[in-house]
Symmetry: C2
Subunit: 206 residues, 2 copies
DNA sequence: GCAAGGATCGACCGGACGGTCAGGTGTTCC
DNA sequence: GGAACACCTGACCGTCCGGTCGATCCTTGC
């Protein structure tokens, strides 16, 4: 009877892959809403209904969870957008495709997107940070290439390409600060509206 | 001789007001670069060359320092921009004034600006947060009023005013993520370039 | 010359954090 | 039936954090 308190096994065992997905999804939500430092391993465990120790069974440490989310979603964003660029379309329409696809990605993978977009401070593991930035740069260069092509095709005025790219990315990257999914336009719709405003300008025609 | 280790007084005493400014300035820099949670009271004390206890002599707690910075700079931003709107100018030029003034504020009070622009999570003291949001709203509504006036004056196309406002603010609020003060355009110059792109559009004229 | 009060310090506290450990269950495979 | 292994647990550890305390030093005013 001295062993009365033993009784382990509270959460029903899940297949490893499912558990890992659950952990990543709950972590992404927490990181996105309360930040890296504001999210403790205890919070994550509680949100998953498991013990803290189990997190360390599946992941080396907190930073590995974080890196999986941010690196993963940055890489995926690039691939997601790249795959959706309308082939053979006019350069200007490809820019619209870039923006709308980014809006779609944001809407689908909101928490991971927010976590990795706001990833900024904390560079605990330099190598991981570097790899993430590599994909981020690739994503940004993809847009710059589209802008450059549109200029050469005579569809855009000759302009400061990096700055124009930053203007477009700013509009998309800032969305998470005010976007409420339950009401108003969807994220791709917003991206499309931004496309119209940025490309045509706010001024009256002529 | 048992008192050998006493010897207090390491930092030369400063007039209270100067010390407070020093603390606020160092804190703003730290909050902006390493975040709220990533900045400890020990970090702040060390950056100021004083003991941790002294921080508590001047401020009630960590959150009071943070609130002073973020609330203060949000209120100041509104006032700063408001005072620089060109009176009597065409509505569209007043929008330019809004953007350039914001760029100037960013350049001058960079760390406080970044700290308060990225303030997001952590609402430890609800009242302070509310007051900050009030000034933030006032700032945003100022811009919306300018846009509305420009539409009514026939200088802007009829458009979704809140969305157009967000587009403009996004471009300014995202600047701190890539801006390097030592090279390239100054912040007001960037704001002006953004104004041109957003108002006239990226597309070739006609 | 001494009281008052602001500026400053080092030592300390309770609590939360990231992470470890030894072990308990349940399945699968020989 | 038992070895191997994946899944899971509570108890524990050292560290750092925000914050407190009592004392010392310095200036100012009487």
């Amino acid at each position: 009877m001295a062993r009365a308190a033993v009784k382990a096994q509270a959460a029903e065992p899940l297949d490893g892959a499912e558990r890992i997905l659950q952990i990543l999804s709950e972590s992404a939500r927490l990181f996105a809403t309360t930040g890296y430092d504001g999210t403790s391993m205890r919070d994550i465990a509680e949100a998953c209904g498991i013990s803290k120790s189990l997190l360390y069974h599946h992941f080396k440490d907190k930073d590995e969870i974080y890196a999986r989310i941010t690196l993963g979603s940055t890489r995926e964003l690039y691939q997601f957008v790249f795959d959706r660029l309308p082939e053979g379309a006019r350069p200007i329409e490809r820019i619209r495709g870039f923006m709308v696809a980014t809006g779609e990605y944001f809407q689908r993978y909101r928490w991971a997107w927010v976590a990795s977009t706001t990833a900024f401070w904390n560079d605990p593991e330099q190598r991981r940070q570097k790899e993430r930035m590599m994909w981020r740069d690739r994503y940004e260069n993809l847009l710059r290439g589209l802008i450059q092509a549109a200029i050469e095709a005579g569809e855009l005025r000759p302009l400061d390409v990096p700055l124009a790219g930053r203007l477009i990315l700013s509009s998309l990257n800032w969305m998470h600060r005010w976007y409420k999914p339950e009401k108003g336009m969807s994220a791709p719709q917003i991206a499309d509206a931004y496309f119209d405003m940025i490309l045509n300008g706010l001024k009256v025609e002529g």
